[in-house]
Symmetry: C2
């Protein structure tokens, strides 16, 4: 039996506790300052407010980080991508030889989450989780296929043993970098695909997006094969329906991008792909990559013209 | 200016006349015995009954085949796949050095449409059209990206000159075999993907389907690259929403496949992927290919169990 601490109590972080609990592992869930209401609910035995399922484990408030990490074997990063760097710095002195499992996705200062974690916690083994996994489906035990990627294949295989259940199926990969690029770019190209006006153009853009993601992955040292697996095409297929696709569709329907973003903001809907588009363009340019679809999306979102 | 005869007056066959007319080419459209009402409408200047757009050209009934083919430079096969072999036999003696453009998709006696046409009309140059192109979008001049594939790259490029417009964009490829396999299998895997019950599983099956299609294409001498372009992933993305996906969804919702097929038949809805599944399984087995998803779909549709 392993002891796993999950950092973050949002939908995805909490959902991943379900296969762990089903396998009989001990789970600690630590919430950030934004997760206070969730931790309150879980501590008092209520359903998880977003997932609407019961969560087993011990629950910790923001100021109980040390207690939450006590004697853990595996530490899962499940906070928002912009919080990973600070949190890694903060817990650095509390970690010894734990395995890090990363669920956060996105770019931070030109680095993927695995690069951020590598730079701050260079001595710990790390595995990143990718693939099409809507948190609600995972939390309900619906069949889900994911990839655990790590430079250290054995470590990925060990983590698979801990997380895999009959419905949470884990493939392993050594292409952690490729997997992370795919996961970060899905939100960007999800906007692009749905900014098309017709079925034919959306389908063409889906295919052309994969070609650009392949170029990006290759330039970052990842494998093109990854793009055509669960972490690439699988997750792009899933992610396009979410908030990113919603922004794309509003643009397709004739709204100005700035007005669409304002409207979504007023509804408290954050479109991850918006900031990710800027980060991705900057990273692509720094590598002298020519990605016309990405550039045209950037121009559309940030200057209002194609 | 080229003279193009389109064989078949259904939605896709008629839609492809739009870029041709826009480029100023002369179009003849010949209807089969099932297209009588369409030819009646077109001859009397009405809109195309399915597409609801005007079609320019000369229109011919089933018994006017020779007249329809008179002095044509390009002959487009746009009839249903099961009719291609007979029609090719029938017009064999009427053709001299025309270029054949194939729009029909599917297997017939273990052969792709290009193989059927090659076996009957071995001396004529052939180009096959693939990629995500919903006929209604094409007929309305909405942006569409397709692939023209031929063993003879120059011939594909010549045809591109005839068909391409500002909104009907043509890529060329030499992988005619790969393109045809992709086009035929999209309907099969479209059923499979939508027979999944959740978003996560559909996304995983979309990705896993592409891996099986790649194996199939490779075994038939095609290129894996084709699977990840417009003809493969692009057209699978589009095709899944149609009748095939509808059958899949009915199964996902708990209907028995036989009952679902009966219900669709009663509504006059033909699910191309149903017959294509049997043809694909037989072809895969003849090549000793192991494709578990295809086999499980075949078992589900033809024996009622997974």
């Amino acid at each position: 039996m392993a002891k796993v601490t999950i950092l973050g109590a949002g939908a995805m972080a909490s959902a991943i506790s379900i296969p762990l609990s089903n396998n009989g592992h001990a789970v600690n869930i630590w919430g950030t300052e934004f997760d206070r209401a969730i931790i309150d609910a879980l501590k008092s035995g209520q359903l998880h407010p977003t997932l609407q399922v019961p969560i087993k484990g011990n629950f910790f408030y923001e100021d109980e980080l040390e207690k939450a990490l006590d004697s853990s074997d595996i530490v899962v990063f499940g906070v928002v991508s912009s919080g990973v760097r600070n949190l890694a710095q903060r817990i650095k002195s509390l970690l010894k030889n734990q395995t890090i499992v990363n669920v956060a996705k996105g770019f931070d200062n030109g680095q993927t989450m695995m690069e951020v974690l590598d730079s701050i916690l260079p001595d710990l083994g790390k595995v990143t989780v990718a693939g099409p996994s809507n948190a609600k489906d995972v939390s309900k035990g619906m069949k889900t296929y994911v990839v655990f990627a790590s430079k250290d294949k054995n470590l990925a295989a060990e983590c698979r043993k801990v997380f895999q259940t009959k419905t949470y199926k884990v493939e392993i990969s050594t292409d952690a970098e490729g997997v992370e690029i795919c996961s970060s770019l899905k939100n960007v190209y999800g906007i692009l695909i749905h900014s098309a006006k017709t079925d034919n153009e959306r389908a063409a853009l889906f295919s052309k997006s994969l070609a650009e993601i392949s170029k990006f992955v290759k330039a970052c040292g990842g494998k093109v094969k990854t793009v055509y697996g669960l972490a690439g095409v699988g997750d792009l297929y899933l992610a396009q329906w979410g908030r990113n696709g919603m922004l794309g569709k509003m643009i397709a329907d004739g709204k100005k991008p700035s007005a669409a973003l304002e409207e979504l903001k007023a509804k408290n809907i954050t479109v991850e792909g918006y900031a990710a588009t800027k980060a991705a363009v900057e990273l692509a340019r720094s590598k002298s990559l020519k990605l016309p679809l990405l550039e045209s999306l950037y121009n559309l979102l940030y200057t209002g013209c194609k």
